[in-house]
C-alpha cells in the first residue's frame, strides 16, 4: 500500500471516529450517563458542603472594576423602558404557585424586608469571573412569608427578558432556595441594579454558575415538578442548549 493511500485510510478512519464521537452525546445512553455523572457531582457537593456552607465572600477592595453583563442586557418592551425611566415604580414581583399566601411586592416592599449584603464572585459557565457586592432579601424570607406548601419541591424564577424568542426562566431546589446567600438582589455595589445586570431585580444563587442567576425577575413560583414548565428541563439554557440543571460543577 502506498504512503498516500495509507494516509487516506488513516484520515478516513480518524474522520469516522471523530464523526461518531461528535454525535455520541446525542444518544440516549450518553445522556443517561451524563445525567448520572451530574447527579453524582451534586450528591458529592451536598455531602461535603451541606446545606449551609457559604461561598467565599470578599473584601470591598477585592471587587473587580466592573460586573460584566452577559446574555440578555435589557428587556425589549415599552413597559420595561418606561419602568427603567421612572425607577421601576410599577414593577411587581409575584410569589405564586404552591404557597398558602401569594404575594405581590413592589421594589419598596422588597427594600423594606430584612436585607443581606454579600461581596461574592460570579462565575460564568464560559469561564470568566467577576466580584461584586449584592444586596437584597433572602429568598427564604419571601418563601416563609408566602407560606410555602409541603408539596413544593422546586422554585421557578420567571423573567421579563427573552432569549432566542423565548422567555428566560430558571429553577432551583429547596436546598438552594433556603441557602443563606440566595438573595433577590436590587443593588449592585451600593447602587440600584443596572440595566445590563438585570434591573430591577435578579437572583444571586452563589453556589451555582451564572446562568442560574435569573435577571429581570417578575415572579417566583413554587412547583412540585419542573416537567410542565417551559421545555421541562428547568431553565431556558437547559431547554435550548442542553446546559446542566445542576450548575455547581
Amino acid at each position: 500500500m502506498s504512503g498516500v493511500n495509507r494516509r487516506g485510510v488513516l484520515a478516513g478512519l480518524t474522520a469516522l471516529g471523530a464523526g461518531a464521537c461528535s454525535d455520541l452525546h446525542k444518544t440516549k445512553t450518553a445522556q443517561d450517563v451524563f445525567r448520572t455523572a451530574e447527579d453524582w457531582h451534586r450528591a458529592a457537593h451536598r455531602l461535603l458542603a451541606g446545606r449551609e456552607r457559604l461561598a467565599p465572600e470578599y473584601r470591598p477592595d477585592q471587587r473587580s472594576s466592573d460586573m460584566r453583563g452577559n446574555g440578555s442586557l435589557t428587556v425589549d418592551s415599552d413597559f420595561y423602558r418606561e419602568q427603567l425611566a421612572n425607577g421601576f415604580a410599577d414593577w411587581q414581583l409575584q410569589v405564586t404557585g404552591l404557597v398558602a399566601e401569594p404575594l405581590s411586592l413592589s421594589i419598596d416592599d422588597i427594600r423594606a424586608l430584612p436585607q443581606r449584603s454579600q461581596i461574592t464572585r460570579h462565575d460564568c459557565v464560559e469561564g470568566w469571573s467577576a466580584i461584586a457586592e449584592w444586596r437584597g432579601p433572602q429568598l427564604g424570607t419571601l418563601l416563609d412569608r408566602a407560606q410555602l406548601r409541603p408539596e413544593a419541591n422546586f422554585i421557578v424564577f420567571r423573567c421579563a427578558d427573552t432569549l432566542y424568542g423565548r422567555p428566560y426562566y430558571e429553577s432551583i431546589d429547596l436546598v438552594d432556595a433556603y441557602h443563606p446567600q440566595t438573595i433577590i438582589a436590587h443593588e449592585l455595589n451600593g447602587a440600584a441594579l443596572p440595566e445590563k445586570n438585570g434591573a430591577p431585580l435578579r437572583m444571586r444563587i452563589e453556589r451555582h454558575l451564572g446562568y442560574k442567576h435569573a435577571k429581570y425577575l417578575t415572579a417566583i413560583e413554587a412547583v412540585a415538578s419542573l416537567d410542565d414548565i417551559g421545555g421541562g428541563k428547568g431553565g431556558l439554557w437547559e431547554d435550548i442548549a442542553g446546559y446542566q440543571w445542576y450548575a455547581g460543577i
Binding site: T14, A18, G19, C21, S22, D23, H25, A30, V33, F34, A37, E38, W40, H41, R42, A44, H45, L48, A49, R53, L54, A55, P56, Y58, Q62, S64, S65, D66, R68, R121, D123, C124, V125, E126, G127, W128, S129, A130, I131, E206, R207, H208, L209, W237, A241, G242, Y243, Q244, Y246, A247, G248, I249
Partner: protein, 220 residues
C-alpha cells in the same frame, strides 16, 4: 511474576481513554472564553495574561462547538479520572508496586545515576531507572493530582467545602490558568511516554500493558 499487575493495566487504559476525552472536551471549554487570568476574577481582555488560540474542530469534542455537551463529556470523564487516580494510588501502595518500582532512594537523585540511565539502551527493565522513577513520581504525585485539584477549585458547588483549595492555588482564575498549563505538561508526558515506548520495543511493551507480560529484573 507479571510485569504489570491487573490493576495497573486496567487503570492505564481506562485512564488513557478518560484523558483523551478530558483533553478534547477541555479544548472546547477553552474555546468558550479564550483568555486566561491570574487571581480571583478576570473577564477584561486587558487583564488577561494569555490570549488562547481557537482550537479547531478536528481536535475538540464535540467537533462542532457545543459547550453543554463538552461540559457533559468533561464532568463525566473527570469522575473516571479522579476516582481512577485514587484507586491506582491505593492499589500501587497495597501491592508494593510503588515501593518496589517507583519510590526513589537517595542515589536516584545523583547526576551519575541520571547519566547511567540516559546511556542505557531502551527503558524496558524493572524496577525503573532513576529518570523513569522521577518522571512517574512527578506524574503521580504532582501533575495528575494538580489536574484534579485545579478542576475541583473551579467548581462553585465544591468550593464552599474547601475554600482554602482555591486560595492555595491563587484564586479561581489562577486555578483555571494552572489547569490549562498542567494540561500541556500532561500532553508533554504523553508524547514522551509514547515516543519512548515506540523506540523501546512497542509490540512487547504494549502487549505487556495488555496481558501483563513477564517481569525482567535489570538488577539495578
Amino acid at each position: 511474576m507479571k510485569r504489570h499487575a491487573l490493576s495497573t493495566r486496567l487503570w492505564h487504559w481506562v485512564n488513557a481513554g478518560a484523558l483523551v476525552v478530558l483533553f478534547m472536551s477541555g479544548l472546547t471549554i477553552s474555546n468558550a472564553h479564550r483568555r486566561l487570568y491570574w487571581g480571583n476574577y478576570g473577564f477584561d481582555p486587558a487583564d488577561a495574561w494569555l490570549h488562547v488560540m481557537r482550537f479547531p474542530g478536528w481536535i475538540t469534542l464535540p467537533a462542532r462547538y457545543n459547550l453543554a455537551a463538552a461540559r457533559d463529556w468533561h464532568n463525566t470523564a473527570a469522575l473516571v479520572f479522579a476516582f481512577g487516580l485514587l484507586a491506582i494510588w491505593l492499589a500501587m501502595v497495597a501491592n508494593g508496586h510503588f515501593r518496589r518500582d517507583l519510590a526513589t532512594s537517595a542515589r536516584d537523585w545523583t547526576f551519575g545515576a541520571w547519566r547511567t540511565a540516559l546511556a542505557q539502551k531502551g527503558t524496558a527493565g524493572m524496577p525503573y531507572n532513576p529518570l523513569q522513577k522521577l518522571a512517574y513520581g512527578a506524574l503521580f504525585a504532582l501533575v495528575l493530582p494538580l489536574m484534579v485539584a485545579t478542576g475541583l477549585a473551579m467548581s462553585p458547588g465544591f468550593e464552599p467545602f474547601a475554600p482554602w483549595l482555591v486560595d492555595v492555588l491563587g484564586g479561581r482564575q489562577s486555578a483555571r490558568s494552572i489547569h490549562f498549563i498542567t494540561t500541556w505538561a500532561l500532553v508533554g508526558f504523553v508524547v514522551g511516554h509514547v515516543a519512548l515506548t515506540l523506540v523501546s520495543g512497542p509490540v512487547r511493551l504494549i502487549g505487556a500493558m495488555v496481558h501483563g507480560g513477564r517481569r525482567e529484573e535489570t538488577g539495578a
